[in-house]
Symmetry: C2
Subunit: 334 residues, 2 copies
């Protein structure tokens, strides 16, 4: 029996081993991904991003607990925690993971920390691959947690069906903390630590930035369960990012948040967005793999000396990169 079979059967040790293979991009890992791929496409991928100090990890923790406890469903939850600000040294998010002990004994939850190494494309690509493994292994909810609001987070968020952006009151300059850019990727907004002073300011800043980010939508207050939408924009294809207030360490507001997430998934299905996001994600994955394969094939077919010779001409400033590539491509068949 192969490793992938064990994974499909729910063996946790096999799963852990496979995740390592995939993270290290070994040939065994790649082969397994191919084998597992037909079993993917069922999970709900939830991206959670926010700066340090927002209590993002506690929130993820509580969401996972909620999914495990909610009656009838008891969904299996995987958490992929990525820290793109630690490109070289592993284990940076381990501190956060300590807080996860509430759920760490539960076999329906699997937590994987990933320190992002290597190239930029690599982070998002590896995260996508890990999510695919969890998807195939039958985890219905996959939470991808990233620190910060940089480009890497945006790219990782693009993998998700539903993206949560987490803020907290009193993290200094509101304008700087709440970037319009990151709001454009938000499907659901969360103000965590909502028992702290300044929560109104944070909400006001979020709301006005949200209006900037979604100028065609009217942002409305989200009162508990009902999302009141006013104006002519009320149609099924429109999603207005709700703003939720939570106190994660006390479990407050988690059920309502989870409900919004479920509602967002339903919205994606109804509007055809789910399939569209799937297409975008798999389409760019295909392009990335293709690009890599083309480069590898190119290098296999050009004599190393010829390549070096042209690189030398670039270093001596006799050829620009564009001229160099033109000259390299002329030497090979179309």
């Amino acid at each position: 029996m192969t490793l992938t079979n064990f994974v499909l059967e729910g063996n946790r040790l096999a799963l852990a081993r496979l995740l390592t293979q995939v993270e290290n991009n070994t040939s065994e890992g790649r082969a397994a991904l191919t084998e597992l791929f037909p079993h993917t496409g069922k999970a709900h991928l939830i991206g959670v991003t926010g700066g340090s100090g927002t209590g993002k990890s506690s929130l993820v923790n509580q969401l996972a607990l909620y999914y495990r406890k909610s009656e009838g469903s008891r969904k299996r939850v995987a958490i992929v925690a990525v820290d793109p600000s630690s490109p070289f040294t592993g284990g940076a998010v381990l501190g956060d993971r300590v807080r996860m002990r509430d759920i760490s004994g539960d076999s329906g939850v699997f937590i994987r920390s990933m320190a992002s190494r290597g190239s930029l494309g690599g982070i998002a690509q590896t995260t996508a691959a890990l999510a695919q493994v969890f998807d195939a292994a039958g985890f219905e909810i996959i939470i991808i947690e990233t620190v910060g609001a940089g480009q890497s987070e945006v790219d990782i968020a693009r993998l998700a069906h539903t993206t949560l952006v987490v803020e907290a009151p009193g993290l200094g300059d509101e304008i700087q903390a709440i970037k319009a850019g990151i709001l454009e990727i938000a499907d659901v907004l969360v103000i965590n630590k909502a028992d702290r002073p300044g929560v109104e300011n944070t909400e006001r800043a979020l709301r006005s930035n949200l209006e900037l980010a979604h100028p065609t939508k009217r942002v409305v207050r989200h009162h508990g369960r009902s999302l009141s939408v006013t104006g002519p924009e009320t149609d099924s294809t429109l999603w207005i990012p709700p703003i939720h207030k939570t106190v994660a360490i006390e479990g407050k507001g988690i059920a309502e948040l989870a409900e919004s997430i479920t509602r967002h998934a339903a919205h994606l299905h109804q509007s055809g967005e789910w399939a569209a996001r799937d297409r975008t994600r798999l389409g760019s994955e295909l392009e990335a793999v293709l690009q890599e394969a083309l480069l590898t094939r190119f290098h296999e077919n050009i004599p190393q000396e010829k390549y070096e010779e042209i690189l030398e001409k670039v270093l001596s400033r006799d050829l620009s990169s564009w001229e160099a590539v033109k000259s390299l491509l002329n030497g090979t068949s179309k």
Copy 2:
């Protein structure tokens, strides 16, 4: 006379127009880069990175002022300010730029703000291209300023000959603020706002993290002008990142910092590192352009329907990306 000629002659308006062309990756911009390329390779590229609240922009401002004022040299200074945390909306660093008014009337200084848009590779690539324009236009010092400590910053820092990492006392959790990862790319460390309480803690944290990041080097205190190195590691190929304390808004410590930067450039030349970094940078630029060109050529030579057909098989989970690429490549010549 072409735009590039005007740029080479020092016309600021032409320079501004060309930078926009290059940033938007127009064909005119690409053609100009090719024309300008033989004129590049003279500037000292200095990367400055650090979190918000470190006073990084003031520091860059003061450094630029210093280079303009220092006797004999009066070097021309270009500043490229990149904000990777604002992937969609432009002008995010404009607030910082207001502080630049001391130097904005000086024709020997050119400031360019860039909100990072598009793909990840794109940010570093565009920054490199802008730096090339400034280099060709005769700016001897090019400062590339980035916010934060994420992967994008690391990639941008790789463009620089000398990378400054800026910290400040009292930015909360020292361990979280001072990532070992970002220290691995630091050539010079700066504790700005060094008149604030907690400066000793910041220095201690930096020093111990630096020892982790450079385990083979002994990190020594940098007393003003002299860098005292003890032990057998004293050789010309070794660079120990000095730690500088500055109060940028008062101009304190700037001359000493600039001296370290100059000394680092000398070190790079002596050790052969300057040429090695040049080779690495231009080599990966060549690879990036080649990869893009290969993908473009591939799409030009494969019928769109065939590509769509295979993409559909991926979407239906009948083919994994790897299998799809294999099948796509079999259809084309080597």
